[in-house]
Symmetry: C2
Subunit: 308 residues, 2 copies
DNA sequence: GATGCTTACGATACCCGTAAAGATA
DNA sequence: TATCTTTACGGGTATCGTAAGCATC
């Protein structure tokens, strides 16, 4: 048994049992991949994959059982390298934060500036994507930290922590009739076409739940990934917008007016997540602590051990 | 990084940093061991061991931090092999049970017979030793299951479960004066020279605690590893004996009389232990379940995951 | 001087990649 | 036929063990 074999096993599952792809993604030859699998199987005396003729189709029972251990071993190998880096270059290295547009643009800038001030030699990568993409980046080990409002809390392999709480707000153009009503109601909002976030983004599910629970049908005419796009279309008269309150500032967004609707939609909690069992560099834990002072290195580590 | 390097790191710690011994125990050459360590250190860019000139003295900080991961990886590698065996030969293999004399002779026979009946093709090894030795056999991966009354519950790397409860009994020769007194007292026992177990064995600590708490000084003239030896010396008139009640049967032990003293010494609990994170063969879990029906495979696994 | 670690060097085995052949859809 | 996997083969490299050289105690 050697590490290349383990990497191949893991990658074979990730690449859906296509050995050619596996070879490419590991920068080696198909023949080598094939041989490694055979060798491991013969060493263990068990078939790891189902085959139909020459094609691989899936994992056998013993294969599935082993996979978790294979993954943990590779994780541990990465952890060892991480520790080494930690000691050889305390404040140097790379930190990849996977996040949604909303977080990157409105929540994280303060943290990023502070982080760069303290760790000028750490190369910080902001990787933007949907919450689902963020989760899979974390799981694949391609990102160290994930920040998003949706999804992250639902993946068992991730350890997630509350970052900050926020509400949606309704945005309208100057002179809009809604500006004159007092306290907004769901029905009043539903009287207008709505522009808001895509499904799976930035509390969209919370918005839908409110309308559904009230038995009101909302007319969502357009959905977008981020508040900036939504604002643009609101300005173009496509309808009223529902966005994260933090993403609108009446000073910086001339022509846009913000209406409180914290009484209409449930509060959202943005979360910070890490892959369980994935040991981070010290500065990565510092980054998380800068987001929320309660999230110390010990707190995060305690929640993110990998116990299978 | 490869497995041989990891094995060498682990063994170097176990062998107290003597690379010659490491080489012998891994059946390879010193030169190879030395080179492997150097290579791993240079790959990681960190020194793992403190050196004074050419001698290794101990682990550096990063080395210590890595060690736990190294050990887990090697454990996981063993687990994978275990799974493979599990599937390739369901009811064949080897099971090593480390136990004290008392357990091997008086508690386990019934279980062993039953186990052999169900798994005739499993090679069962009974490894006898002191509780401390049993613990280290488990930790070194040389035994799968440990059974003893002392020590096992105190080692954090071991998961231990109650096996059965028992009391001590006093044994005397026929016609002994103690046979005529009614309910025994500690003082009456202390009036005679005592033969009992060694320190660290079979509830010896419980016996001492009772005397100490009562402020009575007992005269322990002889201590032995097992009840059979103790019985012999009692027969020779060295004194009265204190042994596990289960180890005396007035039918099978002619000339020996047993006196109840469950009111004098605290109850003992014999424990079954496994190394946390060490996955066992199915038949090993069956063995444990035969000892105590509540200890199912799930119960044991739940307590013995290795989360660092 | 005995023990223990490192370096040098040659034989072996392992791993990888190219190329051709066989299977599958 | 195009895609994918296996087998065959050659070059390169890593690993291992012996033996010699050096510290350390």
């Amino acid at each position: 048994m050697n590490f290349q074999q383990l990497r191949i096993i893991r990658e074979t599952v990730r690449r859906d049992f296509n050995l050619t792809e596996v070879a490419n993604s590991l920068y080696t030859s198909q023949s080598g991949v094939s041989k490694h699998i055979k060798e491991l199987e013969s060493e263990l005396g068990v078939e790891l994959f189902y085959r139909k003729g020459k094609r691989l189709l899936g994992m056998t029972e013993p294969g599935k059982e082993m996979l978790r251990y294979v993954e943990r071993m590779l994780l541990d190998a990465a952890n060892i390298k991480n520790i080494a880096e930690q000691y050889s270059q305390q404040d140097e290295g790379q930190l990849t934060v996977a996040t949604t547009h909303t977080q990157a643009r409105y929540a994280l800038p303060a943290v990023v500036v502070e982080f760069k001030r303290r760790y000028p030699r750490v190369h910080l990568k902001l990787h933007q994507g949907s919450p689902v993409e963020i989760a899979s980046l974390l799981l694949a080990g391609e990102a160290d930290i994930g920040v998003a409002t949706e999804t992250l809390g639902d993946v068992p392999e991730l350890a997630s922590f509350p970052y900050y709480r926020w509400h949606h707000a309704v945005i309208v153009t100057e002179g809009h009739p809604l500006l004159t009503v007092g306290k907004l109601t769901l029905q009043q909002i539903a009287d207008y076409p709505i522009v808001t976030y895509h499904e799976g983004f930035t509390g969209r599910s919370v918005i839908e739940k409110s309308f559904r629970d009230a038995g009101i049908k909302a007319d969502i005419v357009l959905s977008a990934l981020d508040a900036d796009v939504i604002k643009s279309y609101v300005m173009l008269g496509m309808g009223i917008g529902i966005v994260a309150s933090v993403s609108v500032d009446e000073q910086r967004d001339p022509g846009i007016r913000k209406l409180d609707c914290s009484h209409l939609f449930a509060e959202n909690t943005s979360r910070i997540a890490v892959h369980k069992g994935h040991l981070l560099r010290r500065f990565a834990y510092q980054f998380i602590e800068m987001c929320s002072a309660e999230l110390t290195e010990e707190t995060v580590k305690a929640e993110s051990t990998h116990d299978l």
